[in-house]
């Protein structure tokens, strides 16, 4: 039976989501597979919807695996949480159809990047958001982001050495939530470091270091060096993944 897990994690203490075989490196997928294998008494191999980088968090990561028929999702959830919370939390666990695959069945991924504008650092926001000491020009950032919407070759915003860098970006929106400015980015899929490259570049626009009209030129250059350095990992969070049929019965409000 296929089981799907809806997983939240604080990425601070992890070297990213993806397992790294034959190393002692702590990854989210690594601890999940280790605990699942222990629990189900067989080697469990999982698939994740998004391969988040070291230090990146998740609220709605989706992980699927093939389980023995005997394994009840609720029991798996309870046992995993007993071991892994609060760093990694299984928010929901359900049986999914045999053809379900957390990665290949996913239609869209939604990421959020949080920054906060303040005179000094705020100890209560620091862990999951990035401090910006000046006021950002959000209008200019919003304007700049429009050039990125649609299907493009995002080579300028992808870590080099990958295969195809053509992606379909659905939306970039800006929301004020509590004291944070949240930049929400939705795409069918992302290349590595894509959200952080986009956000890094948009932040340069917001700070007045780069013209809003510059973004189109960066995109067309297809040169990683044209975009800004990646924004820090800790501001980024995978908030949700969309499937043709949502395997979970719960909505995904973002905290």
């Amino acid at each position: 039976m296929k089981i799907a897990l809806l997983v939240a994690y604080d990425g601070t203490g992890f070297r990213g989501f993806a397992r790294q075989r034959n190393t002692k490196v702590r990854t989210v997928q690594g601890v999940l597979e280790e605990r699942l294998s222990h629990l189900l008494r067989r080697d469990v191999v999982t698939t994740g919807a998004g391969r988040t980088d070291a230090g990146v968090h998740a609220w709605g990561q989706v992980v699927s695996f093939e389980a023995p028929v005997a394994a009840e999702p609720e029991w798996v959830k309870t046992r995993l949480n007993r071991w892994l919370a609060p760093d990694v939390v299984v928010r929901a666990a359900v049986f999914a159809g045999e053809s379900f695959d957390a990665r290949f069945s996913a239609r869209r991924r939604m990421y959020e990047y949080a920054v906060y504008e303040a005179d000094v650092v705020n100890p209560f926001l620091e862990r999951f958001a990035v401090h910006v000491s000046e006021k950002l020009d959000v209008r200019a950032m919003r304007w700049a982001a429009r050039a990125l919407i649609g299907e493009h070759d995002f080579a300028s915003f992808c870590r080099s050495g990958e295969g195809s860098t053509t992606r379909r970006l659905r939306s970039v929106s800006f929301v004020r939530r509590d004291e944070r400015l949240v930049i929400r980015v939705v795409a069918d899929s992302f290349c590595q470091q894509m959200v952080r490259s986009i956000v890094g570049t948009l932040l340069e626009v917001g700070r007045g270091m780069r013209a809003a009209t510059d973004i189109g030129r960066v995109l067309e250059a297809r040169e990683r060096a044209e975009a800004a350095p990646v924004a820090p990992a800790k501001g980024l969070r995978l908030v949700g993944v969309e499937y043709g049929t949502n395997p979970f019965r719960i909505a995904s409000p973002t905290p």
Copy 2:
């Protein structure tokens, strides 16, 4: 010249606010005095408005000390932040009148205690709030809290072995903020563990383990054993201190 600092800190890594002489124990006052002494090239002794316990946080702690005339508050603030942020952050630094004392000039202290009601632990809230797996009966908690308002002997809610345990409690209010329920408690001053004892007892009321009417009896008993165990330190935050004249020119919105 007297200098007053408005200080925020993440108490997770500290054994409380108060310095502990002749030990290696890390406290907020300890690191502040160590850095101030280094900066001003003389032994600096500080006074704090609230002696928060190990693991308790602050957004608006106030710290005062006598400084050489040469020390500019803004310079002190910048230098301290360079060393201590993001664990400890000086939000503002000003000259205060000679008679100002962060502790003895304080008229009121405001604390906030944060809990969140959810099926499973939330990795993004865990650091500064306490998880409650059931829905709390906030009406009953509000009703129960009314018995505590005014001047009373709070012996049932104070750590034993202290002197007078008579305090004047000004208000207990309940606010929903984001996904958290915030219990805000204001008093002229507090005895040790008072907020956490009150919150621990109110949470038992909210969970239906104790009748709302029971609180008056607990108060009158003047017996620590009558109240509930203290609520965990991490949910508590000193949010602000009130003086006859506010030495800082900035307001204290609570994050």
